[in-house]
C-alpha cells in the first residue's frame, strides 16, 4: 500500500513535469549587489528572464504578461494626518504600518488592468495598491485605513521610493524579456526581493524569485559602522574636528 502510494506520487510528479501543464520561468539579475561609495547617486539593475516552454506546452490564446515586484527592506512606518483644530493645523490621527517595505517598485509588460481583472489583482496582490494588502482580506472594512494606505503609496511615490512602470518589462523575443530596476540614492540599505510572475489571460502560470542587496562599501561603510560601534570615539572625533576647523579658520583669516 505504502509502496503503491509512493509510486503514484512519482507518477504524478512525472506527469506534472513533462505534461502540457505550464511554462517555467527563469530569471537573473544583472548584479546581486549595489555598492554605495562616496559618489553614489543611485543605480540601475536589470532583470532578465526567459519563459521556457517545450513542444507539449499548451497553446495560449492571449500573449504572455510579465509582472515584476521589487520589495525593499521592511520597517515600521507611521502615516500621520493633519487636521484642523481651531485656527491651526496639527497632526491628530496616525496609523501604523508595522512591517512595510520602504521601497516598492512594480513593473509590467502592459498595464495591469489590461492583464487581469481588479478582483484578480487584489487577490494576487498585484500593483502598488495591492502589493502589501493582507492576504485574504479583499475588502477593507475600515475606510480609514484605505485612506492612510493610499496616502502612504502617494507620498512614497513622490519620493521615488514607490513606483509603477506599466510598460517597464520589454519582451526582446517571444520568450525573452528584460526590465530595468531603478534604485534611487535614497533607497535604504538592506536586502531586496524581486518577484517575477508570468501571466496569460489573467492566470498566473509560473513564478520566480530572486534578490539583491544594497550595501555601503569603503569609507562610507567604515564611517557608518564607526558611528555605531564606537559612538564615544566617533563623537569625540566629530567634536574635535569641529573645534579644530573653527580654530583653523580663525588662524587663516587672522588679520589683526
Amino acid at each position: 500500500m505504502n509502496r503503491l502510494g509512493a509510486l503514484l506520487a512519482l507518477l504524478c510528479a512525472w506527469i506534472g513535469a513533462t505534461s502540457a501543464r505550464a511554462e517555467t520561468l527563469i530569471a537573473a539579475m544583472s548584479a546581486h549587489q549595489v555598492q554605495i561609495t562616496s559618489n553614489y547617486t543611485g543605480s540601475q539593475l536589470t532583470v532578465f528572464g526567459l519563459v521556457e516552454r517545450d513542444g507539449r506546452t499548451v497553446a495560449r490564446t492571449g500573449p504572455y504578461d510579465i509582472l515584476i515586484t521589487v520589495r525593499g527592506p521592511r520597517r515600521m512606518l507611521l502615516v500621520r494626518e493633519k487636521e484642523r483644530l481651531g485656527p491651526i493645523w496639527i497632526n491628530r490621527t496616525q496609523r501604523r504600518f508595522p512591517d512595510n517595505p520602504v521601497f516598492l517598485h512594480v513593473a509590467s509588460s502592459r498595464p495591469i488592468d489590461a492583464m487581469m481583472s481588479l478582483e484578480v489583482a487584489q487577490r494576487d496582490r498585484v500593483g502598488l495598491a495591492n502589493a502589501e494588502r493582507a492576504p485574504g482580506n479583499w475588502i477593507d472594512l475600515d475606510p480609514g485605513s484605505v485612506r492612510f494606505r493610499d496616502s502612504l503609496v502617494r507620498i512614497m511615490q513622490a519620493k521615488d521610493l514607490y513606483g509603477y512602470d506599466e510598460r517597464g518589462v520589454t519582451f526582446l523575443s517571444n520568450s525573452l524579456f528584460s526590465a530595468p530596476v531603478d534604485i534611487p540614492a535614497t533607497a535604504p540599505t538592506g536586502s531586496y526581493t524581486v518577484d517575477i510572475v508570468l501571466y496569460s489571460g489573467g492566470v498566473p502560470l509560473a513564478r520566480q524569485q530572486t534578490n539583491f542587496e544594497v550595501v555601503k562599501t569603503g569609507i562610507e561603510q567604515r564611517l557608518a559602522s564607526g558611528a555605531y560601534d564606537w559612538p564615544l570615539l566617533y563623537g569625540l572625533a566629530a567634536a574635535l574636528m569641529a573645534l579644530f576647523l573653527g580654530w583653523g579658520a580663525s588662524v587663516i583669516f587672522r588679520r589683526d
Partner: protein
C-alpha cells in the same frame, strides 16, 4: 558634484551645502547666534532626517562658534566670568528641558509643542526687537539720541537682587540670580527645540542687562560653544546621528562665513544690527506660522520612527 552622506544615507550637492552653510555662518558671525535655528529647518527641507539634521548642526554650530569665540577673545570682547555663569545656568536648564521633552514625547504632542514654541518665541522676540529698533530709528531721524542715556544709579529692580557680582568686561554690577534664570530658560528652550539659544540670549543680555553689544555677542558665542560641543557628544553617544561628512562640509562653509560675518559686524552700526536681527528672527517665526495656519496641500506625512533605524 554630489557626495554620499554615510549617516543621513543620501547624496547631496557639495556646492549647495557649502553655499548654504557659508550664508548661515555669515549670519552667525554677524549676530553672535549659532545659526542652528536657520540651518536645521533648511537641512530638513533638503530631506535630511530630522534627528541627523539636529545632531549634525550641533557639531557645525560648535565649530563656527569656536572661530567667533577666538576672534572676540582676541578683541577682548568676551566676558569669561559672565560666560561661566551662563554655562552653569544653561546646564541646569538643559536637564529640565530634556525631562520636559521626554514627557511631551510620551504624551504624543511633541511636534505641536515645538511648532507652537517656534511661532510664539520667534514672533514675540522678533516683534519686540523690531518695535524697539524702529522706535530708535525714528528718534535718530528726529535728531534725538537713539536711546535714552544710561544714567548712574538708574537700574531695573532685578539687577539689585542679592548675590551681586561684578562683571568688569561687561561693565555690569548685578545680581547673579536674574542672569542664571535667563541661562536656565535658554538651556530649557535649547534642549526642547534643538537650538543653541543665542537668538534669545543676545537680545536678553542687551535689553535686560544693558551689556554692550560687542561683549554680548562674544559671550553668547562662548556659551553656545560649550553647550553645542556637549550636545555633539551626547547625540553621537545616545543616537548615533552625527553625520561626520555633512558636519565637515557645513563647517568648512560655516567657519569661512562666520569670519566674514564677524568682520562685517564691526562695520555695522548698532541700530541697523538690531533691526536686521529682529527681521531675521521674525521671518523664521512667520515661516513656522504659515505651516501652522495655512491649510496643508498634503495633509498626510510618512515617518520612519527613529527606533526602527
Amino acid at each position: 558634484m554630489q557626495i554620499y552622506l554615510p549617516i543621513a544615507e543620501l547624496p547631496i550637492s557639495v556646492l549647495m551645502v557649502l553655499g548654504l552653510s557659508g550664508a548661515v555662518g555669515f549670519i552667525s558671525g554677524l549676530f553672535g547666534v549659532g545659526g542652528g535655528f536657520l540651518l536645521t529647518p533648511l537641512l530638513i527641507f533638503l530631506d535630511i532626517p530630522p534627528a541627523v539634521a539636529v545632531a549634525t548642526v550641533a557639531a557645525q554650530v560648535a565649530g563656527s562658534s569656536m572661530t567667533g569665540v577666538l576672534t572676540y577673545l582676541r578683541r577682548k570682547a568676551l566676558d569669561l566670568k559672565l560666560g561661566a555663569v551662563l554655562v552653569s545656568g544653561g546646564i541646569m536648564g538643559t536637564v529640565l528641558g530634556v525631562l520636559f521633552f521626554n514627557t511631551m514625547r510620551r504624551l504624543g504632542q511633541l511636534e505641536l509643542v515645538i511648532t507652537l514654541s517656534y511661532v510664539t518665541l520667534f514672533s514675540v522676540i522678533g516683534g519686540l526687537m523690531l518695535y524697539d529698533a524702529l522706535r530708535a530709528l525714528m528718534r535718530v531721524r528726529a535728531g534725538k539720541p537713539a536711546r535714552l542715556k544710561r544714567r548712574g544709579g538708574m537700574h531695573p529692580w532685578w539687577m539689585g537682587l542679592p548675590l551681586r557680582m561684578r562683571f568688569n568686561r561687561s561693565g555690569l554690577y548685578c545680581s547673579v540670580l536674574p542672569i542664571a534664570l535667563l541661562a536656565i530658560v535658554i538651556g530649557f528652550i535649547g534642549a526642547v527645540l534643538g537650538v543653541g539659544g543665542g537668538f534669545i540670549l543676545v537680545p536678553g543680555l542687551i535689553y535686560f542687562f544693558r551689556i554692550p553689544t560687542a561683549v554680548v555677542v562674544g559671550t553668547s558665542l562662548f556659551q553656545i560653544l560649550v553647550t553645542m560641543t556637549g550636545a555633539t557628544l551626547l547625540h553621537a553617544v545616545t543616537n548615533q546621528s552625527v553625520d561626520i561628512v555633512l558636519a565637515t562640509l557645513l563647517l568648512i562653509g560655516g567657519v569661512i562665513g562666520a569670519q566674514f560675518g564677524g568682520r562685517a559686524a564691526r562695520n555695522l552700526n548698532v541700530e541697523s544690527f538690531r533691526l536686521l536681527l529682529a527681521l531675521l528672527i521674525l521671518s523664521v517665526g512667520l515661516r513656522f506660522a504659515i505651516e501652522l495656519f495655512v491649510p496643508p496641500s498634503e495633509p498626510f506625512s510618512v515617518v520612519v520612527p527613529e527606533s526602527a533605524r
